[in-house]
Subunit: 217 residues, 2 copies
DNA sequence: TACGGCCTCACATCATTATGCGACAGCGCC
DNA sequence: GGCGCTGTCGCATAATGATGTGAGGCCGTA
């Protein structure tokens, strides 16, 4: 399942840190350091030229700062993952970075091992960030939301059956349901067989689709 | 010099997991397990009675689910930190939890040590969450504003992939899709593999659920 | 022209689902 | 007490899905 190496590009104006990051990443199997630049001046041409999968972007840089660099990258190459690096976790920066589409947000004091983990995470579709920053992000969220709750349409499913249908909708496999609910695999089968009968379907996907569309969740 | 222990309350309907969480937390210095309940029915009275600092809340519970429980806690006791526990990281739940004021969001498969870390983090003002969930949270944010660069990307699925995803949602099997579109079974497999990669899912049900919830149909 | 993305197809292997046939216990009901 | 329904569990088999590896053609763009 080994695909090509992850191509990483660094923007970091501090020469020392840039060098140590370069050494760290350059010496890691599975990663390919395609560049380590001191500024974002040519970011628009850097990206198509170096074709990174992941960019590590220092926020505090002279000239074009990291937020601006991030915006420019996302404007032209939204698929490139950008992880911001910063010393401070001040609210305003986090807000700007998040709104500009950052895919991760780490402190410079992050230990090397964690930094490498983070690159893997972002490649896997995750968004690495420290808990403190995550908290900031959550606080940026608008609290007010329209809740919608309805406990109608029993659809003649028993309570247990509805419960299990709900798990199917969540993407659970038979095994996971059995584990989660502490019952045997055969019991799960049994329930699902009944659910299929009652909903007049013949596969998990049909059941999930029907459940979501008829609001049985 | 001893500050008070962190008072932790668990809501988890799976008896096995509830028990193992109880043992884990109960045996940890600095933590005091003030309760481990199987449902949220009495959440409004549980909280003032047990006075937890941190609540671990399973999302999938029969009766009052974790999101609703979270809302009720935050409505009356906003200072209590609530960390959500779930098996899957689907967008809709994350969105609801975040909007309802969750202070953290962890997968049930989180190793015990990490779970304990998370409780410490949330007490320290952090918001523990897995990178994959953090990514979801970031995605909930308003996208790049100024430039019109964003033509609503349907999760970067190709036209053909969207088409096939649509058929999955309709409950078609691989065979049916192949027949319907006049392509080979292996080609269908191939498309679906790609779709899974792009959506970060590993089964038809997850794909269908994600498609319906994110309006990719 | 070379490269990358998309669509097509094949083959192989392992894991999971779908389905049928039973079975037993608890519960509410007449 | 019998009856029906629900929830639990077992076994067996066939069908389907998940995943890896590899490959050729078409097309647009660097």
């Amino acid at each position: 399942m080994e695909t090509a190496d992850t191509r990483v590009l660094i923007y970091e104006d501090n020469p020392d840190l840039r060098l140590s990051l370069s050494h760290l990443l350059g010496g890691t199997p599975g990663l390919e350091l395609v560049g380590a630049l001191g500024n974002c001046q040519q970011v628009e041409t850097d990206i198509p030229r170096l074709k990174p999968d992941v960019v590590l972007m220092d926020i505090d840089m002279p000239g074009i700062n990291g937020i601006e660099g991030l915006k420019r990258i996302k404007a032209n190459s939204p698929k490139v993952s950008v992880v911001m690096l910063t010393v401070f976790e001040d609210n305003d920066r986090v807000f700007q970075a998040v709104c500009a589409g950052a895919d991760g947000y780490l402190l410079k004091k992050t230990p090397p091992a964690k930094l490498l983990d983070a690159i893997g995470e972002v490649r896997a579709g995750g968004a690495p960030m420290t808990p403190a920053i995550a908290r900031q992000v959550l606080r940026l969220f608008p609290k007010p939301v329209a809740p919608r709750q309805q406990e109608d349409s029993p659809a003649n499913l028993s309570a247990r059956e509805q419960e299990i249908l709900g798990l199917l909708v969540e993407g659970y496999s038979y095994k996971m349901i059995a584990h989660d609910r502490g019952i045997s695999l055969d019991t799960v089968r049994s329930h699902i067989k009944k659910i299929y009968e009652k909903l007049h379907v013949r596969s998990m996907t049909e059941a999930v689709s029907k459940a979501l569309r008829q609001g049985l969740t």
